[in-house]
Structures are given as structure tokens and as C-alpha cells.
Symmetry: C2
Subunit: 174 residues, 2 copies
DNA sequence: CGGTTACGTCAGTCATGTTGACATATTTCA
DNA sequence: TGAAATATGTCAACATGACTGACGTAACCG
């Protein structure tokens, strides 16, 4: 059903079968905008930003995470991480303990306060997701997960999967 | 169909119906990170950033857009918009024409150069999406669209829908 | 003991967002 | 017609969260 295909493209060789996916491109933009907008309101009350949220989230989900592992997840520089991490430490949302095998490592753990804040934000985002899944009908959870998983850069999937599916309490709450 | 639920809790006693959706929360984070990472490489060559991409994208998809409409889509201030828009105008990626009915308005149109750049970036993102849909199997496009649509803040859906589904060439390329 | 590793930190820069105030052209309405 | 409202542009100051580059310190490892 595709006639003449596009000429002057610079990127290798897109066949005409790849009509622009404007719908999904834009839906991703709007959905993500509102998805991250939820926690912003809570964060503002603490003088925190999205960077703090991301750090706290992954520390919460992976207690004992090292600095190096966190840098690899967030794909930012240690200087960037350090600024927000320092604030989370000073204000008692995260704490460090020396590594057991390797005492150079600073293992990161959420405090009770940190867990409470992380839970609050996860709850907000969970509400939005739960409403969306209900609205999108049965099977939408698995379908959405399959699609999003496949959107991740293949080289990054092993480490992403380890985090996403290898977290604690995979099938029991607390 | 919900049994008695949440009264006044702020934390730590979510009903079992709302177990944290960590999987989708994290998949959204990783998928979006890589999704917006694609155009970054192209943009860097022009000295542009993601802000330029967003402006160019929506102007490309909605030629004749006004400043006010663009501000409403992006949800940023006119000062923020102006900085990147000025660069896109100066470097000939976008052009302005006075409104026909209302000559105060500056209608925004992509130039040939602007269309080429927007197409390049859309093509990259389309590739990632197309691969993901293939991998996620039949029906995944519709399922993903339903889910993402439902993730958008309800109050924003009318305007988002108008953009997403009301754009030009809804079923013919060029 | 010397080299490497894990992490911290100082200093400067850039991109992108914000608020507030004010200017200019045009339209609308009493 | 003249005053108010609207659409846009712009100046200035500031916050956040990225970046690079350089250097310091403690701990591990061979």
C-alpha cells in the first residue's frame, strides 16, 4: 500500500513502511509530562526537584546501592549526583554505610523518612497508572509493559531488567 | 467495585488494590530516557537542545500555530519559549507570518530546512517505536496508545487529542 | 609499596526553566 | 473615537540540574 518512498533522507534507509509514528511520539510526550508532574507538587514542599526524586526512588527500591551503580542507572556525572545526594543525606532521607567487603564503597539506604517520601510519590504515580490501566481495559498492563520494555535501548535492557524485575518484594507488600 | 478504601492515610497503608506499580514506573523512566536520547545526537550537531526539538516538532505538525497555542502545549513561559524560538527563527528553521484575521498574531511555519530537521528526528523516534511494536506483537500499537492516552491528565486530554489526532496528513504521507 | 579504584569536591559553564516589569502593535468595545 | 484588553517581545535576575576538568583521599590489590 506504500507507493513512492521518501527521497532525501539522511538516516540510512527507512522503508516506506515506516510512516512517522506521530501519535505515539506525542502521546509519550504528554503522558510523561503529566506522569512526572505528579511528584513535582510534593517535592516542591521539601525544596527538592526531580533529581532528588530519581535518586530517592532507586535507593528506596535497591537498598545498599553503591554510588557507582546509581551513576550507571541515572546516566549522570558524579558531580551532578553528589549535589542532590548531599542534600538527601543532610536532611536525613538517605544514609550511607561503609561497604562490608569493600570499605571504600558507600552503600546507600533510605531512612524511615526517605521511605515515607518515596512511598508518597510512588503512590501518586501508581494512582495515575492504575486509573489508566482500568480505563485501557484488561491486558493493558502486560501490553504496556511489553511495549515500554521494547522501547529501551537493547544494550541497556539487562541492567534495566535487573532493576525493574529484580527489586525487593516482588510479590509481597513489605 | 471498590470495597471500602482509603480514608486519611498519607503513607504506609495503601490498600492491596493499589500495590505500587514499580514496574511501569521504572519502565516509563527508562523508555522515555532512551526515546528522547535519540534526537539529542542530531540536535547537538546544530547546537540545539530538547527545547528546540519540542518547538520545531509542534510547529512542523501544526503549521500556522500561534505563540499562545504553543505556550499552552509546552506549558512553559513565553520568556522560555522566546529564547529557543528566536534561535530557530534566526537560523531559518521556522518563520513567522502575521495572522490574517488578527495581525497581532505571529503564525509559525517550518521552513524547508525546519521540515527536514523535524523529519530526521521523527524518523529516528519512529524507528525505535516501530521496532518496539514489532517486538511487542500485534495489537501493541493500539494498546500502547490507549494506555498512554489514559495516562494524560483528564483536563488536558481535549487539547492533547486535538493535536495528536487532528494534525495534518492523518492518512496520507505528504 | 605502588598503582588502581571508589568516592568527594572545587570551580566554571551551559541549557532550560522561573518571576516580575515594561514596551509595542493591534483589536475590541463602550 | 478613545480607552481597555489582547498578542507578543524583551530586559533583568535567578534556580535547577546537567556538563567538563582538575585534584584529593581512603582503601584495595598485586
Amino acid at each position: 500500500m506504500q507507493p513512492a518512498l521518501d527521497m532525501n533522507r539522511t538516516e540510512s534507509d527507512a522503508p516506506a513502511t515506516e510512516r512517522p509514528q506521530y501519535e505515539l511520539i506525542e502521546l509519550l510526550f504528554f503522558a510523561y509530562r503529566d506522569f512526572v508532574g505528579d511528584p513535582d507538587r510534593i517535592l516542591a514542599a521539601y525544596g527538592f526537584g526531580r533529581a532528588h526524586h530519581r535518586v530517592l526512588h532507586f535507593v528506596h527500591r535497591n537498598p545498599g546501592l553503591t554510588i557507582a551503580a546509581l551513576l550507571d542507572i541515572l546516566k549522570i556525572t558524579k558531580q551532578s549526583l553528589n549535589r542532590v545526594l548531599k542534600e538527601l543525606l543532610e536532611q536525613g532521607f538517605v544514609e550511607q554505610r561503609a561497604g562490608v567487603n569493600d570499605r571504600r564503597q558507600r552503600l546507600l539506604y533510605p531512612t524511615a523518612r526517605g521511605r515515607a517520601l518515596a512511598d508518597d510519590m510512588a503512590r501518586l504515580q501508581t494512582r495515575r497508572i492504575a486509573r489508566a490501566l482500568e480505563e485501557a481495559g484488561p491486558g493493558s498492563r502486560e501490553a504496556a509493559a511489553r511495549f515500554l520494555e521494547a522501547m529501551i535501548e537493547p544494550a541497556e535492557r539487562p541492567s534495566a531488567d535487573r532493576l525493574v524485575h529484580g527489586g525487593r518484594d516482588e510479590d509481597e507488600a513489605q
